[in-house]
Every structure is written in C-alpha cells, then in structure tokens.
Symmetry: C2
C-alpha cells in the first residue's frame, strides 16, 4: 500500500491576518500550508516567517511560480522556512535548475508547475531527471473558469512512473478527491472547497477522512 497522500491547503486570500486565521482553522487536518501566488506577492517574505513560526510542524509551500532568476528569487524563501517552492515548467531550464539547487542547498524541495506547459510528459520527465522532487499537475484558476480540470493530465504524468511525488491542483473537492488519490496523486491541493465552505474546519476534516480512506 502506498504512503498516505498529503493534503495541501491553498491559502489564496490576500489579507495577512485572514490567511493566518484560515491556516489556524484547517491546520489540524492538512499536511501542507500553501501561500498562494497572489498572496505572496501581496504580503512578501514576512508571511513565510509568520506561518513557519506559528506552524513549525506543518510543511510550508510558497507558490512562487518562478519564471526567471531561479536561485536568486527562491533562496530567501527557503532560508525563511519554505519546505517547497514552485517554479514554472514553462521557464528556462536554467531557471528550474536554479530553484532545484536552492532547494537542495536548504534541505528542501522544488516543485515544477506544469501550468500552461504544452508537452507535459517531456517537461515532467526532464524535471525529474534534473532533480525536482515534485511535479505539479495544475489547472489554473483562469483555466478552471473555462471548464478545464487536471484529471487527464494526472493520468498522463502518473503513467510515466517517474519516482517523484505528484501534486494535483485545480478545483479538487469532496466528490473528486478520492479518485484523484487513486489515480496517483500523492499531494492533493484543496482551495475553494475548504475556504468557500461554511465551516472551513469541517470541510477540511471531511476531506482528510476521504483522503485517508482512499
């Protein structure tokens, strides 16, 4: 039996205090706290420091979506406590290499985000060969609004058997989370299904039970 899948909570608010408050509500039920891209640009490194201090036992992902200057951009976030930073699969190979190098230098991990990548299999294969620890199968918010989902891409990447973890993001909810894990996701990212619920804590608890039973 495979290791249990991890649940990642996408903290997509812009507000500093609301982000901390949401993390407090869901922390008992999730494994990874994710600072979303708009949120990190809005709040800066200070939010990384604050979340790491408050939740030292949770993994912290900073969704930098780095596109250039990989090592330069990601290093301070790893040093501030990020366990995982993301870099775009559409970026230059040297950029991905820079983030992977910064991750290794800080005993942390780099995630390659396949959002908008045309040849996802080739990108994932190269990324794994270059030392990325996580491949992110990701249907962005704008693409979700157009009706897209990450599920076909998940099958494509899982079938490659790359020996890396596979993170899946893109509108996952209680109806799809178990099939996502069964299809090979080792990290499931949940955002709106939790923060859009009447009780984020109850929703997170329910999703935790579903993942652990999958």
């Amino acid at each position: 039996m495979a290791a249990k899948a991890l649940i990642q909570m996408a903290l997509d608010s812009l507000d500093f205090d609301a982000t901390i408050a949401l993390a407090e509500q869901v922390a008992p039920y999730v494994d990874i706290l994710e600072i979303g891209t708009p949120c990190i640009k809005y709040n800066g490194l200070e939010l990384v420091t604050a979340l790491k201090a408050k939740f030292p036992n949770k993994l912290l992902l900073v969704d930098l979506k780095t596109m250039d200057a990989g090592g330069y951009e990601s290093t301070p976030f790893y040093e501030a406590g990020a366990d995982i930073c993301t870099v775009l699969g559409v970026s230059d190979k040297a950029t991905m290499g820079g983030v992977i190098g910064a991750a290794n230098a800080n005993n942390a991990e780099a995630q390659i985000d396949l959002i908008s990548v045309k040849d996802k299999a080739a990108c994932a294969t190269d990324a794994a060969a270059n030392g990325a620890q996580i491949i992110g199968v990701h249907t962005g918010l704008d693409a979700q609004a157009a009706g897209q989902t990450p599920f076909a891409d998940l099958k494509l990447i899982a079938d490659l058997n790359l020996g890396v973890r596979i993170s899946v993001a893109g509108g996952i909810n209680k109806d799809t989370i178990q099939s996502t894990v069964q299809a090979g996701a080792t990290i499931v990212v949940v955002g709106a299904a939790i923060y859009g619920a009447d009780s984020p804590a109850d929703s997170a608890k329910e999703l935790r039970a579903l993942v652990d039973a999958a």
Copy 2:
C-alpha cells in the same frame, strides 16, 4: 520624429531600503521605476505604496509576471499605484485578459512579457488585439547568463507595426542602448548597467543622454 524613448530602471535588489535608496539616486534620469519580480515577492505591496508616495511623478512598473488569476492578482497593485503591471505571454489568454481588464479599470497599462514564449510574433499580435498597451521583449537573467540577447526578437516585434509600445529588457548597456532605441524600442530597461556601476547616478545620467540623442 518619434517620441523620445523612456528609460526604465529595474530595481532588482531584495532589500526594501536599498531599493528606495537606488531609486532616489537614479530617479532624476529615468522615466519608469520597476519593482523586479524577486523584489515584489520578497517585499509585497508595501513597497509599491512606498515608492509611489516617494516618486509620485515617476511611472511605476510592478513586474508581477502574472501566470494565473490575472485580475485577482494585479488589481491590488494597480489600486496601490502601479502604472504598469506585467503578465506572462506564456499564460492563459484569460489570464492576460484579466490583467488588461484590471489595468483599464484603473486607468493604467498592462505589459505582456514575451519571456520564453515560443511564437513571439503571434503572442504579440494577439496581445495587441486584446488591448495590451505594451509588449515586453525580454531575455531573462538566466537566459542572459547563457549568452542570449533580446535584439533579434526586438526586430521581429518592431517589424509587426502593432501600434503598441515595445519595451526591451535583457542586459542593455551604454554600448547597446542607442541601437536598441533605433531598432524600435520605446522603453529601454536597464538594470545591471546602472546598479552595477560605481556611481549608479552617473551611469543613469550617461544612459539618459545616449537615449535622448538616439
């Protein structure tokens, strides 16, 4: 005779105070102050507010390099005083549309960054048709380190005669700035040539004279 080209100063430091200090040194000689991508992720919105307050007569560009959630991510930066935000040409069309919409709602401008775009002519043509005011021809720092320059791409985009402004970034210095303007750049981005100089102010002054004489 064409309008004078604008000079954009790329503020690439991570440090808040050093960024303000560099802006103070070069402001008399440049038209646009750019908060670089690593710098905005590190410092957050507060730096936009601070720079706008200190330099109300300069144009302020926030190099968000947005990849998803275009309107959501860029709106607070426009509202805080950004005159221009960037969005990646490799992003979803809806993402670019979101940033263009946010720009228009704030009487500001959106710049499409062609970094890592495969078909740059098609992307620039679509972006102009969709209302982007600026096309950014951009050789990233990691690609510059591998010896690439933006000059061939500038010619490609200038020859399209799209009726938008063309911004060029990628290692421009005193030896190349005049030919860049003559080749069709209406915004020239300078970073290391200024901040790496013994006197950033003297370097900016020299580049200003070169651009105005081009």
